[in-house]
Amino acid sequence: DTVTDLQALLGSLRTMQGEFTQTVVNRSGKTQTSNGSFAIQRPGKFRWHYRKPYEQLIVGDGKDVWLHDPDLNQVTVKQIDKALDSSPAALLSGDNHLEKRYRMKALQSRDNLNWVEAIPRQGDNNFNRVRIGFSGKEIRRMELEDSFGQTTRIEFRMIVVNSKPDAALFRFTPPKGADVVRQ
């Protein structure tokens, strides 16, 4: 069924790269759109690079998660498990199987994608539920709902699966002069 199809897809996923568009809709309907590029290499490595409307870079190098905001000249770094991150990048690059940490449920297909909903087993304080939309071997969309009624929709484009991404994508060296703080 759809859940086992997704698990098979994730099981065979070693790397995934492409572009994304993120749309955040808050409960009063205000939307904020951003876009950029991403790369994922299981286990634990990911790059999530917002380019528009401003730059923000998040890199998981397997041990730590780095966040760089060039406008603020700020770099924060924390251990990957401490990051307790429920972002798409962490979800997709996580090594353990999804069903250990999330209850999975098949949803009706929509926009000609198969959908699975993942609800965190123990209270993950960042979000209530994640929906993953996929077709064939490709994850095309993710929707994250937080407990304030704010929804984040992410659309993946130009997806390349199981290629050989440049290892430098998953390393981060703070630029000279940046304020670097470990949390």
Binding site: D69, S147, Q150
Partner: protein
Amino acid sequence: CAGLQPPPPPLNGFSASGRVVVRAGNEAHYANFGWQAAQGMDRLSLDNPLGQTLAELEIDYRNNQPVRAVLRESSGASREGKPEALLLETTGMQLPVTGLRWWLQGKPAPGVAISRDTEDGRVIEQDGWHIATSDYAEAVPVKRGPRRIELSRGEISVRIVISEWQWTTPRQ
């Protein structure tokens, strides 16, 4: 300046979104934020880059004094208290929110303040804070909507960049 203060100008309602980092000692607290301000109430939402809300602070004002503040956490728990204390307890961020609703706009808050224009913005000294605003979105007819706000007091320094300004009340 002794004597009766003229009533402060009404707050221009605004909505601003951007990012903030609060540095104190060897700690840094970083967040995306959305700030909706109106004469009687502010709502400050702190989010992670993915748009998931980490905390939401609502403050009611009566003639520019905070009369009630409620902070809601992503776990759904909500608490009342002093705005700055609530924010510090739940997020670790030391952010002077009741002053910032004015300073964010490059204006002094009501009360005693020193404020002077500089070449690229304005500097304000108030409540022990040194506030510098620059990179204004609009300059004509009056400077409005700084995109960069930096403030410091003692060992706390705050850096803010605003990526979107919207004003809800017509231009004064």
